[in-house]
Amino acid sequence: MQRIWEIAGNFFETAVFIYGAVLLVSYAVLAICSLIAVRKWVMSEKYQGGDVLLTSPLAPGISVIAPAFNEGLTIIYNVRSLLTLKYVRYEIIVVNDGSTDNSMEQLIKEFSLVPVDFAYNAKIQTRPVKKIYKSTDPAYAKLTIIDKVNGKSKADAVNAGINAAAFDHFVCTDVDCVLDENTIIELIKPVMKEKKKRVIAIGATLRVANSNIFDQGVMVGVRPPKQLLPRFQEVEYIRAFVLGKMGWTLMNCVPNVSGGLGLFDKEITIRCGGYDHTSFGEDMELMTRMCRYAQDNKIPYAIRYIPQTLCWTEVPSTIKIFGRQRTRWARGLAQLMHTHFSMFLKPKYGRMGMIVFPYNFFFELLAPIIEFAGIVYYIVMVAMGHINWPTALVLLVFVYTYSIMITTLAILYDQITFRYYNSWRDVALLCLTPFLEFFLYHPLIVFFSLRGYYFFLTGKKAGWGNMQRRGFQVAPNR
């Protein structure tokens, strides 16, 4: 019996070692690719500004879709913020997904809305649309409001927006996100600059806005979050977007365009059936289906990311809400892997099947499980007195320093892109955060991921997944 345990233990140790080594190597590869992609982008931006898209009659039209559910606290500011976007030809579609608060009444009053006979073509099935509103004020001519029956998911609301969208590309965002005024310009550029491939989706860096200062929906001050939990998320976002997604961009292997902000090819989205309202990770699920569709139909496609921060969002500042969000994300990942497992290691699906899917399976889905198993194994070994402490300590220091290095490199790349924070103190605060992340934040991620997998396996019910917002800091009256 003891011999069997020994063999199992050795096997586990070797497997974890190989797993860890491959993971660390892939992070190193991503860091290098990301640096190349970021520098390339910075050089390109230096010589090609986007002002030409403010007036050009050749600029493609864009529909901006923002779903909202019970956002009464901030909806007016948020819509006003969307109306400040700079671009020559665009429309804004806000989808009120059956809010139970006074969001709709506020919108009608603030923007002088009247119901119109809108030829709504339900190319993607959604819950019924009650009314569509347009403003009688010419200043808000770009604005369309869809009032629909609650679909219990963001996906259903966005699908309704896609059905009403007039243009070939649409930007999907959350109504509570604050967008940079040049968002559309920056997102459409990769589509216009692509030579051979069809760019089916473009994403940009999201950043935490919890401590930023706003005036009438317009951001007037940028600061890293004061609270520790949002600041951990800020660092995590920088790492995921600037280092991760930019690295994947260079290889044309972007696994996901965030639901917070992305520009999509409408035709491919509709042909794929739109967002899946039963999915908990609808953004990643749609991306997978779009890639699958492109591969099945032999469409040479590309998914791009840009390192510039174009979207500022409020992240959870309490463990309870944070846990709810991460559990949902983990559940979405498990669901996605289960639904599309037929793509796993299938050469037919190109890089999606051979790189993106295996990477997500081994290093995103399995990571919390392996980590948890490792901790349990470690505790058992400690209890049995089989731990070689100096060796264990060296390995721990190795993983710790490596994780700090990767995050610090991400912060450096972010600084190369743009100096978002003016004060040295702010940057120092960000640089110090990775030192605590390993001990305080990472265990939380593992725990909530495992909870998400558990909910997936047991089929626990869930709703819109709305985050309770505190609202942003408002600039003092001048």
Partner: protein, 383 residues
């Protein structure tokens, strides 16, 4: 003390040497990680420090340049100046300062002059150009043009084209087909602005596609450059083997309302490329070529969806009312929602809202078609 430290280091080395391979690798990587982390911190510090220093220096220098320009050029009354360039000659002497002898100082001066040149037109703009030449800043730009780095070349081309300094075709033309996108674009822009004889010659030589981004930028440059000789774009529509050049020329034909290019556009209706065909139909519609309506209606049934939509749009734009019955049929009988919507839009373009036909359609249509009609007639709905 020295002895004990050496002893300590020796013991560490001993431990390392006889440690298992995995531990040796881990220790090496710890050192690599710590070093890279420290380097990253240093790099962040250095970037921020140098960035803020540079910003301060540039701000100070820009203030000096602004003062000198206002004092010596912009505040001069053009009517008191006897000969063109006289103001610039006086101003050039004021700019002989030590700050502008260094390369970075000259670059700041070039950037500032470009900024003024792009925002000031007429005699003042010409004075700024003369000042640029008198200060021999064009030599700096030409030096950059000879650089092996593409970004310096792009910078030089932008400077020379903004200042309208002629560059030999043999230098620019090869760059218009460069594999580097930014350099290619800058060279094309510069060629259009600077070429004296044939600003569109690179259309003949373009082997690389004109990306949509390139087209937007070229369109702006072509339509905003003064004294540019606009050729007949039919020559490229007929003979170019580069589809993106043809597509771009169609847009220019519309912009310049170039009726003499219409026969060439008409020939494109027979092309096998349906995307190009759709663009040709779009061009004909926007130019309101009524003679083409019959042909468009004739080919309609054999076309893919994108071309059919363009034909319906074209009929609405032309608005002769000759094919109202065709539009009515499409609106009533088509199974495709988009086709019905575009047919309805074209009908409402040609028929006034209270007309007999619209009234009849409202009465006889299905509820969905009625909604489409109402949508198209509502002035609040643009698209």
């Amino acid at each position: 003390m020295n002895f004990s430290l050496l002893d300590f280091l020796e013991s560490i080395f001993f431990e390392f040497r006889y440690a298992p391979l995995i531990i040796q690798v881990a220790i090496i990587f710890v050192f690599v990680a710590v070093t890279l982390t420290l380097l990253a911190y240093f790099s962040i510090l250095r970037r921020r420090f140098r960035g803020s220093q540079r910003d301060k220096k540039i701000t100070r220098l820009n203030e000096l340049i602004d003062d000198l320009l206002i004092e010596n050029v912009l505040s001069q009354d053009p009517e008191t100046v006897e000969t063109p360039g006289q103001t610039a000659e006086t101003a050039a002497e004021a700019f002989h300062l030590p700050q502008f002898s260094k390369r970075w100082g000259r670059q700041v001066l070039i950037d500032r002059l470009l900024n003024y040149r792009n925002n000031v037109r007429g005699a003042m703009g010409d004075e700024i150009r003369t000042l640029y030449l008198l200060l021999e800043l064009d030599k700096d730009s030409f030096k950059k043009l000879k650089s092996r780095k593409w970004n310096r070349k792009v910078r030089a081309l932008n400077e020379l084209s903004s200042m309208e300094i002629g560059v030999a075709d043999v230098i620019i033309l090869p760059l218009t087909n460069s594999r580097n996108r930014e350099l290619r674009a800058a060279a094309r822009h510069a060629y259009i602005k600077l070429s004296k004889n044939e600003p569109f010659k690179f259309f003949d030589l373009a082997t690389e596609p004109l990306l949509l981004w390139d087209q937007v930028e070229l369109f702006r440059i072509i339509t905003t450059t003064r004294h540019i000789a606009i050729p007949n774009f039919a020559q490229w529509i007929t003979y170019s083997s580069n589809k993106s050049v043809i597509s771009f020329c169609l847009k220019l034909v519309v912009h310049y309302n170039q009726l003499k290019a219409i026969p060439a556009v008409l020939k494109l209706l027979d092309t096998k490329d349906h995307l190009l065909r759709a663009e040709a139909i779009n061009c004909l519609g926007k130019m309101k070529i009524a003679d083409v309506e019959d042909k468009l209606v004739y080919i309609y049934n054999n076309q893919p969806l994108n071309c059919q939509i363009e034909i319906l749009k074209a009929l609405g734009r032309i608005g002769s009312g000759k094919h109202t019955e065709f539009l009515r049929q499409e609106f009533m009988l088509s199974t495709d929602f988009e086709l019905r919507k575009h047919a309805a839009k074209s009908l409402t373009n040609t028929e006034p809202p209270g007309s007999e036909l619209i009234g009849e359609l409202m009465e006889t249509s299905t509820p969905e078609n009625q909604l489409i009609l109402k949508h198209c007639m509502n002035p609040l709905i643009k698209f």
